[in-house]
C-alpha cells in the first residue's frame, strides 16, 4: 500500500513536472488580483470614486478577454487608512488568497509598511494609484516590485527648477516646510537646479504654525538671492511671503501646488504677486483620456473628476496587460512585464474593453504594445515612477491663471537631462 502511494506520488510529481513549459500558459481560473484601499476611515470620501474606477478597469479587462483566457477577480480589502490594518490586508491577500499582484493603496503612510513587510520581501508586484512619497522607489525596500501611476513630487520639483532657470533667475533661496513633503521637494530641486544653470544660495527649513517667520526669512535673505522658492502650505506661506516682501526680498517667488488657492493669493495681496509663479500637475488630454471619462460617466452617472480616479484605472489596466505579457503569473515575471506595457515602437493601445482586446491579440502574436491610459502615456522610469505633464500658473488681475503647460514629452526630456 505504502509503495503504491509512493509510486503514485512520484508519478504525480513527474506528471506535474513533465509539461512544465506548457503549463506556464495554463493558469488556474479565475485569476485573482489583490486590492487594498481605505474604504472606511478619514479617506473614505475620496476612496469611493477610486474603488469605482478600479471596478470599471476590472470590467474592461474581463470584457476584453481577461488574463491568459481567464476571468479576473479583484479581491478588495479595506486598510482603514491605518498601517497595521493595511499590512494585515496585504498579508491576507498574499498568503491566503495567493494573489500574484496587488493594487494599492492611497496613503503613503500605509503603502510604505506594506512594501517593506509584505510585497517587497514576497516579491509581489504592487501598483499604487496615489502614494507619492519618493522614498518607496528610491531606498531599495521595494526591490523594484513597487510601481505607481501618478507623478511623484519629483515631477513638480524638476518643473519648478526648469521654470526658475527659464526665467533667468540665477540665485535662488529655498524656504521649505520641515516635513517629508518639503524635504523631498527640496532634495529634488537641489538635484535639478544646478544642472539647469541655477544656483541655490540658501536652504531654510521652517516648522509650521508659528506666528512669525522673520528669523527664517532673514536667514534666507542674508545670501542675497534673486528669487525665492517657497515650498509649504498656504496659511504659513502668507506670513512668510509678506515678511519676505517687507524685509526687502525680491518679488520673484516660485510656489508649489498647495499655494494655487485664492486664500493664499488674497492673503498676501494679489498686487504683490505679479512676478511670482507656481507649479502643479496638469490634467492630460487625449483620446484615451476622453474614452475613460466617457466610460466612467456612462457607468456611474457622475463625472470622473477627483484625486486618484484616473491613476487607479491605469494601475489596474497596467496589471491586466502586464499579466497577459508575463510568461507566467509569478511576481518576477509580472514585474518584468510591467516595463513592457509601454514599449518603444509598440502598437498604441488605449482605454476601454475593445482596446484591451486589441492589446491581447497583439500580445498573443508576440508584438510589443504601447499603453496610453486614463492619464496619458504610462511609461515607468528606472525607479517605477511615472512622469506627468506640469503646468505653470501665475497671478494676473487678482486671478490664478495658467501661464503655460509643460508637456509630458518636455518633462521626460527634462528628466533625462537631470538624471
Amino acid at each position: 500500500m505504502k509503495t503504491t502511494l509512493g509510486v503514485a506520488a512520484a508519478l504525480a510529481t513527474i506528471a506535474l513536472m513533465g509539461p512544465a513549459p506548457a503549463s506556464a500558459q495554463q493558469v488556474s481560473c479565475p485569476v485573482k488580483i489583490g486590492g487594498i484601499l481605505p474604504l472606511t476611515g478619514s479617506m473614505a470620501p475620496i476612496t469611493k470614486k477610486i474603488a469605482e474606477s478600479a471596478q470599471l478597469a476590472l470590467e474592461h479587462i474581463n470584457q476584453g478577454g481577461g488574463i491568459k483566457g481567464c476571468p479576473v477577480e479583484l479581491v478588495l480589502r479595506d486598510d482603514q487608512g491605518q498601517p497595521t490594518v493595511g499590512v494585515d490586508a496585504a498579508k491576507y491577500l498574499v498568503e491566503v488568497e495567493r494573489v500574484p499582484a496587488i493594487t494599492g493603496t492611497i496613503s503613503s503612510g500605509v503603502t510604505g509598511p506594506i512594501i517593506s513587510s509584505v510585497t517587497g520581501p514576497s516579491k509581489i508586484v504592487q501598483i499604487s494609484c496615489c502614494s507619492t512619497a519618493s522614498a518607496f522607489t528610491l531606498d531599495g525596500r521595494s526591490g523594484g516590485y513597487f510601481f505607481r501611476t501618478l507623478p511623484t513630487s519629483k515631477t513638480q520639483a524638476f518643473a519648478t527648477a526648469s521654470e526658475i532657470t527659464r526665467r533667468g533667475l540665477k540665485k535662488t533661496a529655498i524656504i521649505y516646510v520641515n516635513t517629508d513633503f518639503g524635504v523631498d521637494m527640496t532634495k529634488f530641486v537641489k538635484l535639478a537646479l544646478p544642472k539647469l544653470g541655477g544656483e541655490i544660495v540658501a536652504e531654510v527649513p521652517y516648522n509650521d504654525n508659528q506666528s512669525s517667520y522673520r528669523a527664517e526669512v532673514t536667514k534666507a535673505l542674508a545670501a542675497k538671492p534673486e528669487s525665492l522658492l517657497l515650498i509649504g502650505f498656504p496659511k504659513d506661506a502668507v506670513t512668510i511671503v509678506r515678511e519676505w516682501l517687507s524685509l526687502g526680498g525680491p518679488q520673484q517667488i516660485a510656489l508649489n501646488n498647495s499655494m494655487r488657492v485664492m486664500d493664499f493669493v488674497n492673503g498676501v495681496g494679489p498686487r504683490f504677486l505679479n512676478e511670482s509663479f507656481g507649479m502643479d500637475n496638469a490634467q492630460v488630454a487625449g483620446p484615451t483620456v476622453d474614452a475613460f471619462n466617457q466610460a466612467f460617466e456612462a457607468k456611474y452617472k457622475t463625472d470622473s473628476k477627483g484625486p486618484g480616479v484616473h491613476t487607479q484605472y491605469d494601475a489596474l489596466m497596467v496589471l491586466g496587460l502586464a499579466m497577459n505579457i508575463a510568461k507566467d503569473l509569478t511576481g518576477p515575471s509580472i514585474k518584468d512585464a510591467v516595463r513592457q506595457v509601454h514599449a518603444a515602437g509598440g502598437a498604441q493601445v488605449g482605454t476601454g474593453p475593445e482596446e484591451f482586446k486589441k492589446a491581447i491579440s497583439l500580445i498573443k502574436d508576440g508584438k510589443p504594445i504601447k499603453y496610453f491610459g486614463a492619464t496619458g502615456p504610462i511609461e515607468f522610469d528606472a525607479n517605477g515612477d511615472v512622469t506627468g505633464p506640469a503646468l505653470v500658473w501665475k497671478i494676473k488681475d487678482g486671478e490664478i491663471v495658467t501661464d503655460r503647460v509643460i508637456s509630458i514629452e518636455e518633462m521626460q526630456a527634462l528628466f533625462k537631462k537631470v538624471e
Binding site: P205, R214, A215, K219, K235, V238, E243, S246, L247
Partner: protein, 301 residues
C-alpha cells in the same frame, strides 16, 4: 545678520511678554497654570477685528499701516477681553476655587475652557485667516543691517509704555499692592483685610487686557486665525516660568529671552530646531535658579 536677529528677537519677545504677564499672574496670584490664557490672546485679536470691521482699519497714519481706529479697536478689545476673562472665572474657575478643587483639576478645567473658547472662535469666524489691513509695509533700515517695519517699532514702543505703566500701577496703587500681597501669601493677605475676590477680578481683567494687546499685535504681523494664541502657548509659559512666576518684570524679561533665544539660534543651527531653543534656555535657568530669574524663593521670608 546678528543685529537683525536681535531686533527680531526683541520684537517677538515683546509680544510674548504681554501674554506672559497674564500667565505669570495666574501662576502666582490665582495659583494655577491657566492653559486657557492663550485663548484670551486669540479672543482679543478677534474682538479687535469686530471693531475694525465696523470702523475700518483707518487710513494709514504717517508710516504706519493703520489709523487711529486700530488703536481704538485695541482698547475696545482689551476691555472686552478683560471682562471675558472675568466671566470665565465666574462660570468655571471661581466655582472650583470655592470648592477647594485640586490644582490639577483647575489645570484640566483650563484645558477644557481653552478648547471651548477656541472652537467658539471657529464657530463664529470660521477656520480661515483674517487681516486687519491689506497694506504691506516695506521695512526701514533703522540701523545699518537692521530692518524693521514702522508698525513693529510702534508695537515695541507701545509695549514698553504699557509695561512701565503697569509696573508703576502695581508698585504704588492699592490694588497693585493687594495683588502683590496675594501673590506673596493668599491667607496672610486675607487676614490683613485684602478683598480676595476683588483682587482676583482685577487680576483677570488686567491679564485679559494685556492678552488682547498681544493678540492685536500678533494679528498685525500679519494674520488672524483661530490657533494664533494656542500656537504661542508654550512660549508664554516658558517666558513666565523663566522670569519667575508672579513677577511683572520677570515676565517681560522672560518674554524677551524667549524671543531672543528663538531668533539668535537661527544663526547657529537649522531653523527647524528654532522652537526648541527657549526650552533649552528655560532648563538651563531652572537648573541654577529653580524659582526663575526674578522669582522669590518659597519661604525665603
Amino acid at each position: 545678520m546678528l543685529g537683525q536677529a536681535i531686533a527680531d528677537g526683541i520684537l517677538t519677545g515683546a509680544i510674548i511678554a504681554l501674554g506672559a504677564i497674564g500667565v505669570s499672574f495666574g501662576l502666582q496670584i490665582l495659583r494655577f497654570a491657566n492653559f486657557a490664557h492663550s485663548e484670551l490672546v486669540t479672543w482679543g485679536a478677534y474682538l479687535a477685528l469686530v471693531f475694525v470691521t465696523f470702523a475700518g482699519p483707518g487710513t494709514p497714519t504717517g508710516p504706519l499701516s493703520f489709523g487711529w481706529q486700530l488703536i481704538a479697536a485695541m482698547v475696545f478689545a482689551g476691555v472686552l477681553t478683560g471682562v471675558l476673562a472675568w466671566v470665565v472665572d465666574i462660570l468655571v474657575f471661581r466655582r472650583l476655587r470655592n470648592s477647594d478643587a485640586h490644582p490639577l483639576s483647575m489645570v484640566f478645567a483650563a484645558f477644557g475652557v481653552a478648547l471651548v473658547m477656541r472652537h467658539v472662535v471657529v464657530l463664529i469666524w470660521g477656520h480661515g485667516s483674517y487681516f486687519y489691513t491689506r497694506e504691506l509695509q516695506i521695512a526701514l533700515e533703522v540701523l545699518p543691517g537692521i530692518r524693521m517695519l514702522p508698525d513693529q517699532i510702534f508695537i515695541l514702543g507701545l509695549t514698553f509704555v504699557v509695561v512701565a505703566a503697569m509696573h508703576l500701577y502695581l508698585t504704588y496703587s492699592r490694588t497693585g499692592m493687594a495683588m502683590r500681597a496675594m501673590a506673596e501669601s493668599p491667607s496672610l493677605a486675607r487676614v490683613c483685610g485684602v478683598q480676595v475676590e476683588s483682587v482676583v477680578r482685577w487680576t483677570w481683567f488686567i491679564s485679559g487686557g494685556l492678552a488682547a494687546m498681544a493678540g492685536v499685535f500678533l494679528g498685525l504681523t500679519p494674520q488672524l486665525h483661530p490657533e494664533m494664541g494656542f500656537n504661542l502657548l508654550l512660549a508664554l509659559f516658558a517666558a513666565a516660568i523663566l522670569g519667575g512666576a508672579g513677577s511683572l518684570i520677570g515676565a517681560v524679561v522672560g518674554g524677551l529671552l524667549v524671543g531672543l533665544a528663538e531668533n539668535l539660534s537661527v544663526l547657529f543651527i537649522s531653523p527647524g530646531y528654532k522652537t526648541a531653543m527657549p526650552f533649552l534656555v528655560l532648563l538651563l535657568v531652572l537648573f541654577f535658579r529653580p524659582q526663575g530669574l526674578f522669582g522669590e524663593k518659597e519661604g525665603s521670608r
